[in-house]
Symmetry: C2
Subunit: 165 residues, 2 copies
């Protein structure tokens, strides 16, 4: 799929059909994330893939539990603080990594939703998953086959975003 088309037509998908995201596809999604740029190429991202009971267990930690329960799999993205060199830049790098994954997912006609509110329960999730203390949860991406048509999407006009010198 063409890059600009993928960028402009990708949408958050919150409802999914049953099944359908193979291990091979998940591997290629992570591969897309892995090739993101980062400051000093420090690659501070780490991934965890959850499905089944572990995935459903995670759904307790968000108001959007139905998205996680309905998803075939979820990818958790962590900042590895041992590889951090600048927190702000690391977060931008992780945003870039997540966007790579979302674009690849869309290009495969699959759907994804980037969940943020769940970060409010980082500490509890860290206990639930027995994470080592260097891993800080930054993003959760729910994955699956899209249930139905996508919304139109809304963005501010380009004019309103450009600052003149």
């Amino acid at each position: 799929m063409d890059v600009l088309k993928a960028i402009k037509l990708r949408r958050s998908i919150r409802r999914f059909k049953k099944g359908g995201v193979s291990k091979d596809i998940v591997k290629r999604i992570l591969e897309a994330g892995r090739w993101a740029p980062s400051g000093l190429n420090n690659q501070p991202w780490r991934f965890m893939v959850l499905e089944g009971d572990n995935k459903d267990g995670l759904s307790r930690y968000t108001h959007y539990s139905s998205i996680i329960k309905g998803a075939d799999k979820v990818i958790l993205v962590f900042l590895d603080k041992k590889d951090s060199y600048n927190y702000e830049k690391d977060l931008m790098a992780i945003g870039s990594c997540v966007q790579n994954m979302l674009l690849y997912v869309h290009s495969q006609k699959l759907g994804a939703c980037w969940l943020g509110e769940i970060l409010n329960k980082r500490k509890e999730i860290s206990k639930f998953l027995r994470l080592s203390s260097n891993l800080e949860l930054e993003a959760v991406v729910a994955l699956g086959k899209p249930l139905k048509g996508k919304d139109k999407g809304a963005r501010k006009s380009l004019k309103s975003l450009v600052v003149r010198v």
Copy 2:
């Protein structure tokens, strides 16, 4: 250009040929950035495009001034603090926005370099450009026609990035 191909073959380009990034292309680059996802769709990014003397003036604020001087144009990406709802999530959204632009640039056979070290001189740059106080510089993207072949790129193995439950 195919999404995964663009993701895997994009590289930072630090040396450029003269000229060559039309206003139309710049508009489409910003358009790619504009369609990034953000928390609550708050779209906290703002853009400024510099060329000529303004661009060269900016080069004083980084050790990598040759990249900025050699570039045809640079795009500055700001966080508009008036539209912020969560600083961490805003930074990830901006990372996602920058990655959209980098991928589109690459798909057009142009080159770009995402500069980070220049953020050390935020305050001075804010004065130089007479920015309003709600705009915080987060990224600078140098743009131009690539001078020569790209490097191979190096990334950690996927295996080393995946955390098991």
